[in-house]
């Protein structure tokens, strides 16, 4: 269990680095990249929760989070490019 807390600490530091880049990024592209990366890190975090709690519905959360993060990234990329979402 101590091992899981250690890994959770490393991932929490990684999440705070992403949050720094979201808050401080000079251009909107920096913030979008950081949002994408934060989504991927959180998928690993939720998976670690599934390992510690031994409940399988956390994996449903991980799959749903990956899907929604991907859709959000694509939508923000199209918005950056200057196109509408239905093109």
């Amino acid at each position: 269990m101590t091992f899981a807390y250690f890994i959770a600490g490393i991932l929490a530091i990684a999440c705070f680095m992403c949050l720094y880049r979201i808050g401080h990024g000079p251009t909107p592209s920096d913030r979008t990249v950081a949002i994408d990366i934060l989504g991927t890190v959180v998928v690993g975090f939720v998976c670690l929760s599934a390992m510690v709690m031994k409940k399988d519905f956390y994996m449903n959360l991980a799959i749903a989070w990956a899907l929604i993060s991907f859709i959000g990234t694509i939508a923000l990329a199209k918005h950056l490019e200057g196109r509408r979402f239905d093109e």
Partner: protein, 120 residues
């Protein structure tokens, strides 16, 4: 501790270290494209290691199969999102770092911009 737990813990540790250094690259590197390539490659690999490590440690089908599915899904979607983000960043006019040497996407970007200008 049985052997699958030890192997899974090693995989999870390697994955967490990859995640950490990917996010460190996100903070330290100078422009959008450097940050994008460092963070996307490292964090994708690290998250896949964590997912596979969880599948090995728990060794119950309800968690392991979903973890492998999620790993395949992240492996497909993360490069796709990074590609779309790089294209969107370039076409939105973000400049490269001043010490970057090559810019092979410039001609194609000009072509895309002229085409979209004609369409409107």
């Amino acid at each position: 501790m049985s052997s699958n737990v030890i192997v899974g813990y090693i995989l999870i540790t390697v994955g967490a270290i990859f995640d950490f250094f990917g996010c460190m690259g996100l903070v330290r590197l100078p422009d959008v494209y450097n940050r994008l390539q460092a963070a996307t490659k490292c964090v994708t690999l690290g998250t896949i290691f964590i997912l596979v490590g969880t599948a090995v440690v728990t060794a119950t089908p309800a968690i392991s199969i979903k973890a492998i599915l999620c790993a395949i899904f992240v492996l497909i979607t993360s490069p796709t999102g990074a590609h779309a983000l790089a294209r969107g960043s370039y076409l939105s006019g973000v400049k490269l770092w001043e010490k970057s040497t090559t810019d092979k996407y410039k001609e194609r970007a000009d072509e895309i911009k002229s085409q979209s200008g004609e369409a409107r």
